[in-house]
C-alpha cells in the first residue's frame, strides 16, 4: 500500500467510502490507477493545447505529421488495452465463476420501496413462495407458502446480516419493477430484475454497518429504498441466527 500521505491525499481528493470487502483493495487500486491516469492525461492535453496556441511553428514535414498522429495514438491504444486487461481479470474473478460451495445463501428481494432478505434456515433450502400470498403488512412480504415444509424455518428480515470472512451468495429477485442492489462499501452493484434470478457473490471482511441503496430508478420512493448491511464477527453471526430463527410451533 502507498504511504500514509498518499493514502490521505487519495481519501481527501477522491472521497471513496470505506471498503470492507475481500475484493475491495484490488478494486480500489485499479479504480485509483484509472483516476490518476485520467487526471494526468487531462492535464497533459490542456498543457499541450496551451503551449500549442502560444508557440508559432510554420511548417511540419509530412513524415513528422504521421508521427504526431500515430505515436500518441498507439500509446493511448496500448494504455487502454492495459487498463481493459487488468479490469477484465478483476471482472472474471468476480463474475465468471460461481460462489464457493460453502458460501452462505441469502435471497434478496426488491419491491417498491424496500429490500427484504431471506435465509434458508437449518434445512438449507428456500421454501416456496406464491405471489398471491405477498402481504408485507401481514409480516409475509415475500409470500412464503406455509404449506411447504421448507418455508417453516426460512428467516425473513429487512436487514442484511452477514458474517465477516465468509463468502456469501446473494440471489437477487424483484417483485414489481427493476431495482438496483448496491452496497458501496462492498464495491458492489447488481440490478434485480423481475422474472430473473441473478446471483452475485462476495466476501465481507470488516465488521460494521454499511449502506444498501437502490440504484435503479424504481418509482417515487426510489430515494428512500435503502437498507443496512450489518457485518458481524462469525461467532456473533451464529448467535444472531439462533436468536432470530423463526418459532414454528413444534419446531423449537
Amino acid at each position: 500500500m502507498p504511504s500514509p500521505l498518499a493514502a490521505a491525499i487519495t481519501t481527501i481528493l477522491w472521497q471513496l467510502p470505506m471498503n470492507a470487502a475481500a475484493h475491495g483493495p484490488a478494486f480500489d487500486r485499479h479504480l485509483l490507477l484509472n483516476l490518476w491516469i485520467a487526471l494526468a492525461l487531462l492535464a497533459l492535453a490542456h498543457i499541450l493545447v496551451l503551449i500549442g496556441l502560444i508557440k508559432r511553428r510554420t511548417h511540419t514535414p509530412p513524415r513528422r505529421q504521421a508521427l504526431i498522429e500515430f505515436v500518441p495514438l498507439a500509446a493511448l491504444a496500448l494504455l487502454f488495452a492495459f487498463l481493459a486487461t487488468r479490469a477484465e481479470a478483476l471482472w472474471q474473478a468476480a463474475r465468471y465463476t460461481g460462489p464457493d460451495r460453502a458460501a452462505l445463501q441469502v435471497e434478496v428481494t426488491g419491491m417498491q420501496f424496500a429490500w427484504y432478505f431471506r435465509y434458508p434456515g437449518a434445512d438449507a433450502t428456500f421454501g416456496a413462495t406464491k405471489p398471491e400470498l405477498v402481504a408485507p403488512g401481514e409480516g409475509n412480504p415475500l409470500g412464503l407458502d406455509p404449506t411447504d415444509p421448507h418455508s417453516a424455518d426460512d428467516l425473513v428480515g429487512s436487514q442484511l446480516v452477514l458474517p465477516a470472512g465468509r463468502e456469501v451468495d446473494l440471489r437477487l429477485h424483484a417483485q414489481d419493477v427493476i431495482h438496483g442492489f448496491s452496497v458501496p462499501a462492498m464495491r458492489l452493484k447488481q440490478n434485480a430484475v423481475p422474472g430473473q434470478d441473478i446471483h452475485i457473490h462476495f466476501t465481507p471482511t470488516v465488521p460494521g454497518e454499511y449502506a444498501i441503496l437502490c440504484t435503479q430508478l424504481c418509482g417515487l420512493g426510489h430515494y428512500r429504498m435503502t437498507a443496512t448491511l450489518r457485518v458481524l464477527p462469525e461467532v456473533d453471526f451464529e448467535a444472531w441466527l439462533t436468536q432470530h430463527a423463526p418459532h414454528t410451533g413444534d419446531a423449537q
Binding site: F27, H46, H222
Partner: protein
C-alpha cells in the same frame, strides 16, 4: 466578390413561401426556435431539481413543496427535452437545414416537403410532451430511458398512466420526424453536391451531419419499434417486456408471454447509445473546421478524420451493452461490450489528437491564430470533450461500472462530453455562422465574457459531481437528507458539495445573460457584416452561396476545405478557381 453585403437575412425571408413548402433556411431557424424553447424549459427544470436537492423543504412559489414524483417528473422531462429536442434537433436538423445545403454548394434540400413535415411532427411531439405534466397523475416518472415494468404497468406510480402514454406518443412522433429529416439530409448530401464537391472535399461538418443522419435511421427506427411494443404491453395485453408474474402494490398481474424487461434495455440502448453520437458528431465536425479556420491551418490528418468519424458512427452501433453491465446480462456479454467500448476510445482519441495538432504551433501570441469567440468556443468544446471523454474508458470497464453505474460520476461524464460539449458546439455554430444567418457580427467582447463565464461555471458545476459519485451518491434520488441509517449518513455526507454544485448551476444559467444581451443588441443594429469575415474557406461563405436566385451563378467547388498556405498568409476558398490564391483581408 461583387456583393458588398452578405445576402443572408433579407433574401431568404422573402423566399419562404408558406409553411407547407418552407425554405430550408426558414425551417432551420424554426428548428432552432423549437430547440431554444425546449432548452429554456429543460434548464429551468434542472435548476428546480438542483434547488430541491439542496433545500428539500423549500416550497416552490405558487406550487408548494416539490414532491418526490414531481422531482422524478422533472428528471424525465429534463432528459427527454435536452436529449431529443435540444441536442438532436438543434445541431442536426437546425444548423443542418440552415447551413448544410450552402456548404455543399446546393440551393435546396432534396425533399423540402418531407423536411417541413418533419418539423410539424416535431411541433406536435413537443406539444404532447409539454401537455403531459397537466394530465391526471402528472408526467411520466421513469426517466428518459423508460425501463419497464415501471414504464409498462400504470400501477407502478403516478405519471405512469396517461402521462406515460403521452411520453410514448411524443417520442414515437419524434422518431418518425427524425426518420423523415434523416432521409432528407442523407439524400441531400448524396445527390445534391455541386460540381467538384467530391466526397474527399466535403468539410468535416458535413461528414458529421452525414454520419449522424445515417446513424439516426436505424437507431430511431428501432426505438419506434420498441415504443410500439411497449404500447402493446400497456394496452393490448401483450408481454414483450413483462415476465409471467408481477406483484405491483399487492396486485398480482400475469402476462401471457414470459417476456423480459431486458429486451427493452437492449432495444432502447441500441437506439440510446448511437443517439449520443448523433448529438455530438455535428459539433465534432464543426470544431475541426473552425479550429483550422482560426489557426489558419489545414485540418491535421484530414482524410484520417473522415475515416475516424465514420468509424465512431460504425462502432457506436456496437457498444450499447456498456449501459447494461449490471443489468443482469451474462458476464461474458460484459467482457464483449467492454472491448467494443474501449475500441471506440481509439478513434475518439485520434479526433482529439487531430484537434490538438491542428492548433499546435499556430501561435496566438505571434498574432497568427485568432482567438475569436468562435475559436474560444471550439477550444472549449475540445476541453470539455477531453475532460468528459477521459472518464469514458473508466466507465467502459465492467468491474468499475459495478461501482460507478448510476452514480453522479456517470452524470458528470455525460453532462461534460455530451451536454456541455454539445451546447458549446451550438454556441460555436451560432457565433461562427451568425454573419451568414443574420448579416451581422455578434459582439466579440460580450462573446468572450459569455465564453469565460460559461466554461468556468460549467466545470464548477460538473467536476464536483465526479467526487460525489465516487462517494457513492446515486442518480434519480429526490432527496439526500432525512434518511435513516448508514445509507442516510452516506447520502448526507455529500451535501456541502451539493450546495456548491447548485450555486454553480445557477451561475451557469446566469452566464447566458451576456449572450442574450449580445443577440438582442446585434439584431437591433444595422446589417454590417463583410461577406467572409473569418477568412473561411468552405462553400457556405461563397459570395452567392446564400442567394436564392435560381438564375444565379452556378456554384462549383475547386479545392478541399481549409486550404491555407503553409505560412498561414494566404488561403484558397473552395469556391475559387485554382489559379490565384486569395489574400486575407
Amino acid at each position: 466578390m461583387s456583393e458588398p453585403q452578405n445576402p443572408g437575412g433579407a433574401s431568404f425571408r422573402a423566399s419562404a413561401k408558406g409553411w407547407g413548402m418552407a425554405h430550408h433556411r426558414t425551417l432551420g431557424l424554426a428548428y432552432l426556435g423549437l430547440s431554444t424553447a425546449a432548452l429554456l424549459a429543460g434548464v429551468t427544470l434542472s435548476l428546480l431539481m438542483r434547488l430541491h436537492l439542496t433545500w428539500p423543504d423549500w416550497p416552490l412559489p405558487l406550487h408548494g413543496p416539490i414532491l418526490p414524483e414531481e422531482y422524478l417528473g422533472a428528471v424525465t422531462l429534463h432528459g427527454t427535452l435536452m436529449l431529443f429536442f435540444v441536442l438532436t434537433v438543434a445541431p442536426l436538423w437546425g444548423f443542418g437545414s440552415l447551413i448544410l445545403p450552402a456548404q455543399i454548394g446546393s440551393r435546396r434540400m432534396a425533399f423540402p416537403t418531407l423536411n417541413a413535415a418533419a418539423f410539424w411532427t416535431l411541433v406536435a411531439s413537443l406539444l404532447i410532451l409539454c401537455a403531459s405534466p397537466f394530465v391526471a397523475g402528472g408526467t411520466a416518472i421513469s426517466g428518459w430511458t423508460a425501463y419497464p415494468p415501471l414504464s409498462a404497468v400504470a400501477a407502478t406510480g403516478p405519471g405512469q398512466a396517461l402521462g406515460m402514454d403521452l411520453w410514448l406518443a411524443s417520442i414515437g412522433l419524434f422518431s418518425l420526424a427524425t426518420c423523415m429529416a434523416a432521409v432528407n439530409m442523407v439524400t441531400t448530401i448524396v445527390c445534391l453536391r455541386c460540381d467538384g464537391m467530391a466526397w474527399h472535399r466535403l468539410p468535416l461538418t458535413v461528414w458529421g451531419w452525414f454520419t449522424a443522419a445515417l446513424l439516426s435511421l436505424p437507431s430511431f427506427a428501432v426505438l419506434l419499434a420498441a415504443l410500439v411494443l411497449l404500447f402493446c404491453d400497456r394496452h393490448l395485453g401483450t408481454g414483450f417486456f413483462l415476465p409471467a408474474t408481477l406483484v405491483v402494490n399487492g396486485i398480482v398481474t400475469h402476462s401471457p408471454a414470459d417476456g423480459s424487461p431486458l429486451l427493452w434495455l437492449h432495444l432502447f440502448w441500441f437506439f440510446g447509445h448511437p443517439e449520443v453520437y448523433i448529438a455530438i458528431l455535428p459539433g465534432m465536425g464543426l470544431v475541426s473546421m473552425v479550429l483550422a479556420n482560426f489557426a489558419r491551418r489545414r485540418v491535421f490528418a484530414y482524410r484520417l478524420m473522415i475515416a475516424v468519424m465514420v468509424l465512431i458512427g460504425g462502432i457506436g452501433i456496437l457498444v450499447w451493452g456498456h449501459h447494461m453491465f449490471v443489468a443482469g446480462l451474462s458476464p461474458f456479454a460484459g467482457s464483449a461490450f467492454a472491448i467494443s467500448t474501449m475500441a471506440i476510445a481509439i478513434p475518439a482519441s485520434a479526433e482529439v489528437l487531430s484537434w490538438i495538432a491542428t492548433v499546435c504551433g499556430s501561435g496566438v501570441i505571434a498574432g497568427k491564430a485568432r482567438l475569436t469567440t468562435p475559436m474560444l468556443f471550439a477550444l472549449g468544446f475540445v476541453s470539455l470533450f477531453i475532460t468528459g471523454g477521459l472518464t469514458g474508458p473508466i466507465l467502459a470497464q465492467p468491474i468499475l461500472d459495478q461501482y460507478l453505474h448510476n452514480t453522479f460520476f456517470v452524470v458528470a461524464h455525460f453532462h461534460l462530453i455530451m451536454a456541455m460539449a454539445g451546447v458549446f458546439g451550438l454556441y460555436l455554430a451560432t457565433y461562427y455562422w451568425f454573419p451568414l444567418i443574420a448579416g451581422r457580427m455578434l459582439n466579440e467582447r460580450l462573446g468572450k465574457i459569455h465564453f469565460w463565464l460559461t466554461i468556468f461555471f460549467a466545470y464548477s458545476t460538473f467536476l464536483p459531481m465526479h467526487i460525489t459519485g465516487l462517494a457513492g451518491e446515486p442518480r434519480h434520488y429526490a432527496q439526500f437528507t432525512g434518511i435513516a441509517g448508514p445509507a442516510g449518513e452516506l447520502l448526507a455526507a455529500t451535501m456541502p458539495l451539493q450546495r456548491h454544485i447548485t450555486l454553480s448551476a445557477i451561475f451557469l444559467a446566469l452566464a447566458q445573460v451576456p449572450f442574450m444581451i449580445n443577440l438582442w443588441r446585434t439584431l437591433r443594429s444595422p446589417a454590417t457584416s463583410a461577406p467572409n469575415p473569418w477568412d473561411a474557406t468552405t462553400m457556405e461563405w461563397a459570395p452567392n452561396a446564400f442567394s436564392d436566385e435560381p438564375s444565379g451563378p452556378e456554384l462549383n467547388t475547386h479545392a478541399g476545405p481549409c486550404e491555407y498556405s503553409l505560412d498561414g498568409e494566404t488561403f484558397h476558398p473552395q469556391w475559387q478557381p485554382v489559379t490565384q490564391p486569395n489574400q486575407p483581408e
